[in-house]
Homo-oligomer: 432 residues x 2
């Protein structure tokens, strides 16, 4: 640990630390170097290969070297707008789209550009709060509950707007579904109700739908359908197209929020300039879509759906409570029903639980506290994507798409994920 | 123009505007759409193709999709350290290197992380000051003069440190050589003297050497050689490797400044995460270097050197004063010796001059004001890279490297650049 004395650092950055997910990857690397086997359920990265046509496109455009426009390659902006039109039923054109090197940096520029309150329901993605800290702001958190399915309700949102003597305070509310860390999604009715309240109080919604194409039933609905004039859709190709490392994210703005898009684009021109050109050209193929990509998504969803169902069962059998997974590749079990057994062993919160499972049973997860949950809550995020996606995809491709995966499929191709889950269950049940 | 009323924007961003170089590209695009021929000397982009071996590497690694470590791919960090060791004679290892999506965003994170004064000699690169504005800071500018070759002198730096009642104020001084916009470079003696003052007053130097490999004689010297313990070298592959659009920049920190590197890396993990993986893999080939790449650089330097010499002659014949170009691909003529003729035509500063040349003779340049020069100064940045780099390189490859380019080479392969320069000369001489 560096004492950081006698240095001239911006106070906002002192103690910020690395993103918890990236820091956990580092811990795993160190453990592996010590010769230990580590079951890594901490990374939010698709295990599948990038679709062939997209890799091919990257190769084809490998010579593209010019600086592209700050807002993005026009062909890509058109493809992204069409993608949202088709998948989400919203009316957008290229002019509504901003391309960034990952949606994370777009979130940061949003927080930097907007002057108002950022409202985030918890559990929430790990970077919203540290990003606010970077620029010396605070985020208004709304703690949700297990019983609410970890969802923001329209009632809670209305209550927030009315609770202060500043009902029309400029606000952005961030929704994220299918959700990281909870893997759940909102129903159309829930979204309609939230949209109504947002419209009434002139709240902007930032709808983080980066996992939209990984809704396990392919039934993702965007809140932009119900509140098109006030919703920014955040997405990208990192998750469904399995290329998080390529760094390409997208924001889709309604016409009315062009002032926010303009400001973010100006800030972009002074910071990252534009997204890597070959990557943007490859992105055109990804967002245009194809039968190949649709098939690929069906396979991915089938595997994630059956695997997560089985993991959730195992967790319930071990005494945890956990919602049925609906999308993305995360489970967010709450071990409070067996808190007694854990307390007896000195485990009183998520950080301790996470550490103990890593040290004793060698499974890396992320503690609920990293998602802004109360420190004494016994929640963890488990990423059920630590299996060989190449093999699993190839095997799934031999099984007709309308069929379920056979009984031994998960054991055979996602065995490591099942083993990781079993190890977590074993840990929490020890001594029970 | 958007009135930006009734919006909730961070005041730091209001009126920020797009980067002037990017904004000028946009103006050129519009003029072209109106059917006008535009001679674009406003873009700082190498006209040459990306070296073959580097393109090949990008294709080979097109399937690389995982999130890489925040600080960069270890193989790339090693290659960058070795590159600086070999080219600049400084002692660095992979641990000293931070990789970012362009050096621009690293500059931004530096300004965000450091708590102290940022000192910038002018003329300076267009983004240092707006980046400070983004985070609500001010930059301490030191205006240099034509007579000083637009260089910061050790005396000026010492004067600054002694002029306030705060000699040891935490400071970063940014040097940029070969320089954008001036195309000049510092001598070893100048750098030694600056290094001595910096050491005495504990000033950190950020040495922006992105054009180092484009020193026309291949004789770039880094100030890090004389002040290794306090110099951060900023570089990347955008300029010498001709792939600005790929977005890969590098910072090399001395061991003593690890606290700054750590803070920037934490901020990176909460903003851009990491640089695109296939691009980083391709970067390994670029920074490792090869005979092919060295040859490529020789050709590029020979062309830039002879072309810039001829353009400078033309400008001098037209009455401007301009220093002999030493590196990069910019000239920064000062038209003050013929100010009378320009004044008669209503031209009293660089913005007017730049506008008039664009409107009347259709050459796009960047006004000196964009580089923080006084508004009434008659300086312009001309990028002499608006020629077909593929053709010019192929032609140069048929001429032995120890020979000068034949007399008709520039006319034949860089004709557009000569024509652009002639149009500027014609404009300033009209009516004289």
């Amino acid at each position: 640990m560096n004492l950081q004395k006698h240095v001239s650092l911006n106070l906002n950055l002192r103690g910020l630390g690395e993103s918890p997910t990236l820091a956990m990857s580092e811990r795993c690397r160190v453990l592996r170097e010590e010769g230990k086997e580590v079951f890594n359920m901490s990374i939010g990265q698709s295990p599948f290969p990038v679709p062939n046509s997209v890799v091919k496109a990257l190769k084809m455009y490998a010579r593209e070297k010019t600086y592209l426009p700050v807002r993005g390659l026009p062909e890509l902006r058109t493809a992204v707008a069409e993608h949202h039109k088709q998948k989400d039923g919203v009316n957008l054109t290229a002019d509504n789209i901003l391309i960034g090197p990952g949606s994370k940096v777009l979130m940061y520029l949003l927080q930097l550009s907007f002057y108002g309150e950022i409202v985030v329901p918890t559990p929430c993605w790990v970077s919203y709060v540290p990003q606010a800290q970077l620029i010396g702001r605070q985020v208004q958190l709304i703690n949700t509950t297990y019983e609410e399915k970890w969802h923001l309700t329209a009632e809670n949102l209305e209550e927030l707007c009315q609770s202060e003597h500043d009902t029309y305070r400029p606000r952005i509310v961030i929704l994220n579904y299918p959700g990281n860390p909870d893997g759940g999604s909102y129903t159309a009715d829930e979204l309609k109700n939230i949209a109504d309240v947002a419209r009434e109080y002139e709240v902007i919604l930032l709808s983080d739908e980066i996992y939209g194409q990984l809704h396990h039933k392919g039934e993702h609905v965007s809140v932009a359908k119900y509140y098109p004039e006030g919703t920014i859709i955040s997405s990208g190709m990192s998750k469904w197209c399995a290329c998080g490392g390529w760094r390409l994210g997208t924001f889709a703005f309604p016409d009315k929020l062009d002032w926010l898009m303009n400001a973010m684009s100006d800030a972009a021109s002074q910071t990252y300039t534009s997204v890597s050109s070959p990557i943007q050209w490859a992105g055109v193929t990804a967002f245009k879509g194809s039968v190949e990509i649709e098939r690929y998504l069906w396979h991915a969803r089938r595997i994630f759906s059956q695997l997560s169902g089985q993991c959730a069962e195992m967790l319930r059998d071990a005494g945890a409570r956990v919602h049925d997974p609906e999308g993305a590749f995360y489970l967010f079990p709450d071990f409070s029903p067996i808190a007694d057994n854990l307390e007896k062993r000195g485990i009183n919160g998520s950080v301790e639980l996470c550490d103990a499972i890593l040290c004793e049973n060698h499974v890396a997860t992320i503690p609920g506290a990293a998602f802004q949950r109360p420190e004494n809550e016994l929640t963890l995020r488990m990423s059920y994507c630590n299996f060989d996606g190449n093999k699993a995809l190839a095997a799934s491709e031999t099984i007709p798409l309308h069929e379920n995966l056979p009984d031994d499929f998960l054991e055979k191709y996602c065995g490591k994920t099942l083993e990781s889950t079993k190890r977590i269950c074993d840990y929490v049940n020890t001594g029970a």
